[in-house]
């Protein structure tokens, strides 16, 4: 790739100016975005960014800079400025930043795909969206319901990265990905009631993924269920009951109440002014947080996953991380800065979403490991319960202790059988109670993942992730309200 010489020049320049550590990352991102609003192409667009991000550590102070004009003079100027800023900030530190020691790597990686999205014509991409819209409208018509809100987006992305640091590590990476997004609003003509749901898809794959996703079918099913919720869903009862959560809710809970609070930078307070801290403290490693059958993993190495990578943005080889093992807090997510503070090795959680962003601790693909229950076995002994298959609204406090998920597609379970739809059941629960209430987990074939863009950092860095798992059963829960 052009301008790679400037990356190496930036690292040389940083060393020459006295930086203890210096890294530079050239990153080129090309995206195509197609957006359809209510059946009409709202916009077709291209996004392209290309630049160099540089980070220096001087006397224990850290500074980051970026540029998108390629000249030796500007690189020199920006590195000089970064070194100066790092020195100034180091004076305020009582404890210098020390990075974990990691092996020197000469590596490269890329995602495997069949159909390069960049080779697919815009016509084909637009047609794919129009097919989805048609399918939604036909479903609405068949069910005699209106679907006045249909926002559908299809994007594809190509990313090239070249990372170099002054320890000798050099890593090249190429990522190809496709993502889809839909928000569907259904109206019942007789009552004027509204139901609404969104859907996210994403994978590091070529355009062949569209066939696997079958978005027209998925969106038609979503439309149909929204109509059914409008017409059939009944208010849930308020008494204590058992709840079976579908993969989508298990996944978001893994992400929000395990992944985030186990990010070591949050534990150390580095994100305190924005996304907050964590109820999990350093000394809680080894403490019980859930039932023994609970194993929660974050794994960047799942091929074709939305959060896939082989080396993180500090050049550390990616690996699977057990955040909770047998119900016990097992491992936190680290970059080299937090690993240095904890006295451990980095487990390759450093990600930066663009050339102009610093690498920070992030999740990749977070999930609950499967158990051995079939879906029928999960519900067979439930006298009174709810099966919350999907959710709409959710949130969690900034210490990741008190979370809430409102069921969208949710059913009453009575005497071991799925009955009618229930309207907006609310699970509002603390994190230890959530993971300790699980007494049964579905088997591997029931596993599903959902794509999402995870927000963190300042400026915000929206990182592609997956989260998921099989369905799981929680005992003795009282619905919130």
């Amino acid at each position: 790739m052009e301008h790679e010489d400037l990356v190496e020049y930036a690292v040389e320049m940083g060393e020459k100016l006295g930086a203890d550590y210096v890294e530079a990352r050239l990153q080129k991102t090309l995206s195509n975005v197609f957006l359809l609003k209510n059946g009409v192409p709202e916009v077709s667009g291209i996004e392209s960014s290309f630049g160099i991000g540089i980070r220096v550590l001087v006397d224990g102070g850290m500074s980051f800079t970026s540029l998108n004009r390629f000249s030796k003079e500007l690189v020199k100027e920006k590195v000089e400025e970064a070194v100066k800023m790092a020195k100034t900030s180091s004076k305020t530190r009582k404890k210098p930043i020390v990075l974990s020691e990691e092996k020197t790597i000469m590596g490269s990686w890329r995602t495997i795909f069949k159909q390069n999205p960049l080779d697919i014509s815009p016509e084909e991409k637009l047609e794919a969206l129009l097919d989805v819209d048609k399918s939604i409208l036909e479903t609405g018509k068949r069910l005699k319901a209106m679907v006045p809100g249909r926002l559908i987006q299809l994007s594809d992305t190509y990313i090239y990265k070249y990372y170099v640091n002054n320890e000798g590590t050099k890593v090249r990476g190429e990522i190809v990905g496709v993502s889809g997004f839909a928000v569907i609003t259904v109206v019942e003509p007789s009552s004027g009631g509204f139901e609404q749901q969104y859907m996210d898809m994403g994978a590091t794959k070529g355009f062949e993924v569209l066939e696997e996703w079958n978005l027209p079918k998925k969106c038609a099913e979503l439309t149909e269920i929204l109509v059914k919720i409008l017409r059939e869903a009944k208010k849930p009862v308020a008494e204590e009951m058992d709840i079976v959560l579908g993969p989508q809710i298990v996944g978001i809970a893994c992400h929000e109440s395990v992944g985030h609070p186990y990010e070591a930078d949050r534990i150390l307070g580095r994100e305190a002014a924005q996304a907050g801290e964590s109820f999990v403290k350093k000394e809680m490693l080894g403490q019980k947080i859930g039932s023994e059958i609970v194993n929660v993993v974050d794994d960047p190495t799942i091929p074709h996953s939305y959060g896939y990578y082989r080396y993180d943005d500090e050049g550390v080889p990616a690996r699977k991380r057990y955040l909770i093992k047998n119900g016990v807090i097992n491992e936190f997510l680290h970059n080299r800065e937090t690993a240095g503070e904890f006295g451990v090795q980095s487990n390759a959680a450093a990600r930066a979403i663009g050339y102009n962003r610093e690498p920070i601790v992030r999740m990749a693909n977070t999930y609950l490991e499967p158990g051995d229950y079939s879906f029928e076995e999960l519900i067979e002994d439930i006298k009174l319960g709810i099966y919350m298959k999907t959710f709409g609204e959710w949130n969690i406090d900034d210490r990741r202790f008190n979370q809430r998920y409102i069921g969208k597609e949710a059913y009453l379970i009575e005497k071991g059988e799925i009955k009618h739809l229930v309207k907006n059941p609310i699970l509002e629960i603390t994190t230890p109670a959530f993971w300790s209430s699980i007494d049964a987990i579905g088997k591997a074939e029931l596993m599903e993942f959902e794509a999402a863009i995870c927000g963190k950092g300042d400026p915000d860095q929206g990182a592609p992730v997956w989260h998921g798992g099989p369905p799981a059963r929680l005992r003795k829960i009282r619905l919130g309200g």
Partner: protein
């Protein structure tokens, strides 16, 4: 003066675009020099500097449109992207309710207090502002202080093939200070200072507010679910107004994502409530004299005496809604500039006395909607949650959630202060000027296990 390089770049793009036999083209070129200091645990975590040029291009041909946003500003790359746009535009479909870009030239209002050379010239000394805020929070009772400080110099040029040439330059500086008065991290407080000019920037005051609030939040008891009269602080109410500002955008109205869709000319709040979008606000964090279509921006009353007066439009949404642009383009999505909730006549203490018994919520985050069309949502209070008893702040509470409907909340507003604050931070996209606002009968929930 805006630097010649981005002005020349914008004209180069328009000239090259017109060579491709398109109907019209607009380009928005921005140069931003930005500095950031992030701090946590009472020390600097990282400093950052950015020096970027960003180019956005809009092209239209045969009632079809395509756009690009690029940071690769090499001329060959720009030409290549224009050619790509031309290809995309040939195969895309006609835009419903297409309207051409407005014909210029226009005259733009000169804005006050939006540029300060002292901010443009700031260098490494911004670290001192961060230290000032940290020390102030510690002196006020904080034990651990975290935050972010930004300073920015920005130049923006808009050139369109419809005879528009608009230029703006501005500066910004803001700090978010978050203080914790206990080890557990539940005694929290936040303070902000948001300004376009250095003389109105006060990091010390932001630190003091954060430190004091965190100290007041010590030893919180568990909040109880129920229906309460709530006083929302400027930060928490700004969070709700930020979402409300999206609801006024005609794009979201049309997409089925606004609870205001059928509320035009209807009463949505008590008569005392007036909410304005003011792009000319002196020292307004997002004040700008022109929108992305080149139309001069103007002050729009969104809610006047409790009644919804208008949605926010660009020329295309305006055509679909059979009205005129409000000067809020966004080529695709019209958006607000600075949301201003007009001040009331009560002091903070008088407002507490009016409410008598209830809850004071200084800040919220993670606002999520179950249904954007109906407005059902919840949000999580933080950075100071207090019980109000007999018109006074009694004690801190924790672990509560506001679980309600945004339309109901606005219709239940019972009073607001004359003191207002400009709010813009990580959680808030559109700058908001908000008072303390009292709302009756707000539903509060807690975890059941």
């Amino acid at each position: 003066m805006v630097e010649a390089d981005i002005y020349d770049l914008a004209n180069f793009i328009v000239k090259e675009g017109l060579k491709l036999s398109i109907d019209e083209i607009a380009t928005l070129v921005s140069k931003t020099v930005e500095r950031q200091v992030r701090f946590s645990n009472n020390q600097i975590t990282v400093t950052k500097t950015w020096d970027d040029i960003t180019v956005k291009v809009y092209v239209a041909k045969d009632r079809r449109i395509a756009m690009c946003e690029v940071t690769n500003i090499e001329k060959n790359s720009l030409k290549e992207n224009l050619n790509k746009l031309l290809h995309v535009i040939k195969i895309t479909k006609e835009v419903e309710g297409y309207e051409k870009l407005p014909d210029g030239p226009f005259t733009y209002k000169s804005l006050s207090d939006t540029y300060d050379p002292k901010i443009e010239q700031l260098g490494e000394e911004i670290v001192d502002f961060a230290e000032e805020a940290i020390n102030s929070a510690l002196n006020a009772g904080g034990k651990r202080v975290a935050g972010t400080l930004y300073s920015e110099y920005n130049e923006t040029v808009l050139v369109t093939s419809r005879n528009v040439e608009a230029k703006d330059k501005g500066t910004r500086i803001k700090i978010t200070v978050r203080s914790f008065a206990d080890e557990e991290g539940v005694a929290q407080g936040m303070g902000l200072s948001v300004s376009r000019i250095l003389s109105k920037f006060n990091p010390s005051k932001a630190g003091e507010k954060a430190g004091e609030t965190s100290k007041m939040s010590l030893n919180p008891t568990a909040g109880k679910p129920g229906t309460y009269n709530v006083v929302f602080g400027p930060y928490s109410f700004a969070n709700l107004l930020d979402f409300a500002s999206m609801a006024f955008s005609a794009f979201y109205v049309e997409s089925g994502l606004s609870p205001l869709a059928d509320k035009l000319n209807q009463q949505v709040a008590p008569e005392e409530v007036t909410i304005v979008d003011d792009p000319h606000l002196p020292n307004g964090y997002n004040s700008r004299p022109f929108d992305d279509e080149g139309v001069p921006t103007r002050r729009n009353e969104l809610v006047k005496n409790g009644v919804v007066e208008t949605f926010l439009h660009n020329v295309k949404t305006a055509k679909k809604f059979k009205t005129k642009t409000t000067g809020n383009a966004g080529w695709i999505i019209p958006h607000a500039w600075n949301i201003v909730f007009e001040p009331g006549n009560r002091t903070f203490n008088e407002l507490l006395e009016d409410v008598k018994n209830g809850i004071l919520i200084e800040n919220t985050w993670y606002t999520r909607f179950q249904n954007y069309r109906t407005g059902d949502f919840s949000t999580i209070p933080r950075d100071g949650i207090f019980l109000i008893e007999n018109g006074e702040i009694k004690s801190a509470i924790r672990g509560i959630r506001v679980s309600d409907n945004i339309l109901k909340l606005f219709s239940n507003i019972s009073g607001f202060t004359k003191e207002v604050e400009q709010v813009h931070w990580w959680e808030i996209e559109t700058p908001v000027i908000a008072p303390y606002v009292a709302v009756k009968n707000v539903k509060i929930t807690t975890a059941t296990k």
